[in-house]
Amino acid sequence: MPARSTELPLQEIGRSRPRGRTRALLAGHGRYLDDLDLPRQVHGAFLRSPVPAARIDRLDVTAARTAPGVVAVFTWDDLRAVCRPWRTVSAAFPGLQSPEQTPLAAGRVTAVGEPIALVVAASRALAEDAIELIDFAWTEQPAVGVASEALAPGAPLVHPELGSNLAWQFDAAAGDVDAAFAAAALVVEERFVFGRHTGVPLETRGILAAFDRSEARLTVWASHQMPHQLQLHLADLLDLPMSRVEVTAMDVGGGFGIKMHVYPDEIAICAAARLLARPVKFVADRLESLTSDVHAREHVIDAKLAVDGDGRLLAIDAKGLQGIGSHSVFPRSSTVETLMAMRTLGAPYALAAARAHADVVFQNKAMTGQYRSVGHPIACAVTEALVERAAALRGEDSLALRRRNYLEPGDDGCRTALGLELFDFSHAACLERLEAMLDVAGLRAQIAAARQRGEIQGLGFAAFVEMTASGSEIYGKAGVPVSAADTVQVAIEPDGSIKASASLSEIGQGITEGLIQVLADAVGVAPERIALEMGRTASGPHGGGAWASRGAAIGGEAAWQAGRALRGQVLEAAGALLQMPADTLDLVAGWVVDASGERRIEVAELARMVHFRGHEFPAGTAPQFQVAHHHRRAGDPTIPTNGIQAAWVSICRDTGLVRCLKHWVVHDCGRMLNPLLVTEQVRGGVVQGLGAALFEHCRYDAQANFLDGSLADYLVPMATEMPDIEVGHVETAYRGSVLGAKGAGEAGTCAASAAVLNAVNDALRAAGGTSIATLPLTPPLVLAALEGGSSG
């Protein structure tokens, strides 16, 4: 059992500190991918499919090759000499069907925006000009757009070689579901429809690849969440040893899950750089980003909830369908979304029985993938909408119903009906904290008064469970080479400063600052004395990067252990020098102190001795002053976090526009390394959830043509549309680590749309409308519900 964090001497951990690098970013001195230009650099632009499904009849690039400024034009036939195709295979998804994927189309296209040919020219503009000269002829083929039509007899096949559009099926059941529903005093049921949306990092995806033939070395800069993973796949796909592939992520302008996959266009750029032996840059424009970044969600879920006469929840039963687009994203598989959407159904509650089935189908649309809070917001919206509906039908406060039914894990943890392992969490405490933050009775009275004046207002809640910081049991067991471990390296410079590197990634979330705080406490030096580098495979150790809200829980622990070991080296060295047992010494603020607290020797002095005057140490003493610690959590496959959100909305009677008046979150992510940065993670996540609830939609027509190619069509939340967001914290430490930290990056997104959905339905109920179960809550849907003409 590791020493518990409460017993640790913590100075920096738990303090709110802004991230140091933000000063440079504020001055315009950030270094994002497109800020880097190399000598002899050329630019790539892609001919992309204008149609959802087609056979390519002719692809003649001769004219384009001689266009002004053009260096080369590539098709798959040109790239295949240096690059092999890939296919998503994961034992986590038994039966997964998954077609081969190539960087450029191999004879046919399966979605609008799929790259077909790559033009490399002196500038992006010249490359785009030359695209017009490509002689491209195709025969359009029937496409599958609507997921519910994908499995119909006679439906066109997205990939004829697979024989079906079914990619994967999820099935899980526990307890006697049918008996629970037969015995129920109340059954609430609904068909929920969730639109597609996407992450829209403000900096689009981009990559710059250079190849040196003399060394056979590929050097890549990418706007990416996990350069180590990209390095591994580039080496594999281009058949180079990892020692000859270097990937650097500089400042990254947002990720949210979008920049963690293998994208055909990015691989094509690296293959082109290899063939040309000169730097090739590609930065997606916003149209390319909206059509070819992974999309997310797109579920239809029929769900019902059984409740007994005392208001106890008995069972949940759900049947889901997800459309994942043309491919199951490499390497993790798009099916993770459905897995989590099903597994986390009903997760906050004690249910005796549960059943979930889902079909995951291919369509001729952009591929989907892991986007912030993968699958959880779907389960949360379904569960919490049913819970609020049940409370309304019972005529009771939904918070009372929640409190009665919360699953409280006790000391030994517990399992949800659908098999999640839960421990160290705090639904009741979070609810109590929420009630302290917002005076529910007072707010309800205020809303009642507004309704008296003819306004349409509502209040909605959503409790949530977010699984974070996946361990090696998740992908490792599935045979997918994804690192769930992290390594932190620390060394002492001659002036006593600490030089550190870590396998994590900074994408704006602020983990750099959190790790510096951990190292400061672990070693016993001021944070200002620590420089931490991440994002460079050439100098940093291999490891996980930024995904699954893992930085604090896994990286933080690696930093703690590395820092403690380094501190041990310093105390050993000081002890040898001072002729005192090391365990009577301590390291405080850069000084070695004795048991009385008296300063005996400065770390800087010891460091100078190590680096320049090692002969002064007693014989046999050779301090290293450097440590690499690899942390892989043992035991728990994921770390659960929990909380509750509340949304207060008003609806415009004339336009159907929903206005968020205020939003509250109480969140338990265990020990917070830096409450300021945690709070901002939560707020940012909430707004992505509010966007999903109200505006964001990747729309396709019935033939799978994409309709939202610009930010004027795809609506990202703006400042004036968003509410103030009050965030409260409960800290239930994770007991499996020293620091007790859990994940914090995704919980905001998890329950925000569910809370708004419930608030809108609360408002509609009071206004005599019908309820809605479709997201986003567009004005036409809201108007129809107000008129009672549609149940969404």
């Binding site: 991230r19 315009g28 950030g30 400042d251 901002e680 940012g684 703006m718 400042a719 968003m722």
Partner: protein
């Protein structure tokens, strides 16, 4: 490799961050692309290239403009200030301090545009309330912060400026 040999060009003369500049620019190059790749002033960013996101915001002849909607050739005779110039002059320092302290930026990609827009608001209206701040910043998308901290930071900078007066 330079694109200039293949492009129709125009000669321009303008002032950028207080320095006179003469340049030959492709006639179809946007102002922000020229500032970034022609002059190396990479603090202005490109998020959409169609005038929606505000990441490319620069100050032209005293007013904020979308650098993606102007051509470099249109800058002939103009006085241009980017985040680099505003930083060097110190005129946005209180905002930058407040943004830093409030963690009103995460990835930072929106931030230069956000700061220049907020500075224009505070120059026009020294004590805006929260809804007014939100309204004034609505042409600048931030995908990371959720805006709350940005509103806090602008309000802090406004209060600071009022105190200093």
């Amino acid at each position: 490799m330079s694109d200039q040999g293949f492009e129709a060009t125009a000669a321009i003369a303008c002032t950028v961050n207080g320095e006179p500049v003469r340049a030959t620019v492709p006639v179809r190059q946007s102002l922000v692309d020229w500032l970034r790749h022609g002059l190396g002033l990479t603090g202005s960013h490109v998020g959409c290239e169609h005038g929606v996101c505000g990441a490319c915001t620069v100050v032209v002849d005293g007013r904020t403009m979308r650098g993606c909607l102007l051509l470099a050739a249109q800058a002939d005779g103009a006085v241009i200030e980017t985040i680099e110039g505003a930083t060097a002059s110190g005129r946005v320092e209180a905002l930058q301090e407040a943004f830093h302290a409030r963690a009103a930026l995460q990835c930072g990609f929106c931030t230069p545009g956000m700061v220049l827009t907020a500075a224009e608001l505070l120059a026009d209206e020294p004590s805006p309330d929260r809804p007014r701040i939100r309204e004034a910043l609505s042409g600048n998308y931030c995908r990371c912060t959720g805006y709350h901290a940005i509103v806090d930071a602008v309000a802090d900078a406004a209060a600071h400026a009022v105190r200093e007066r």
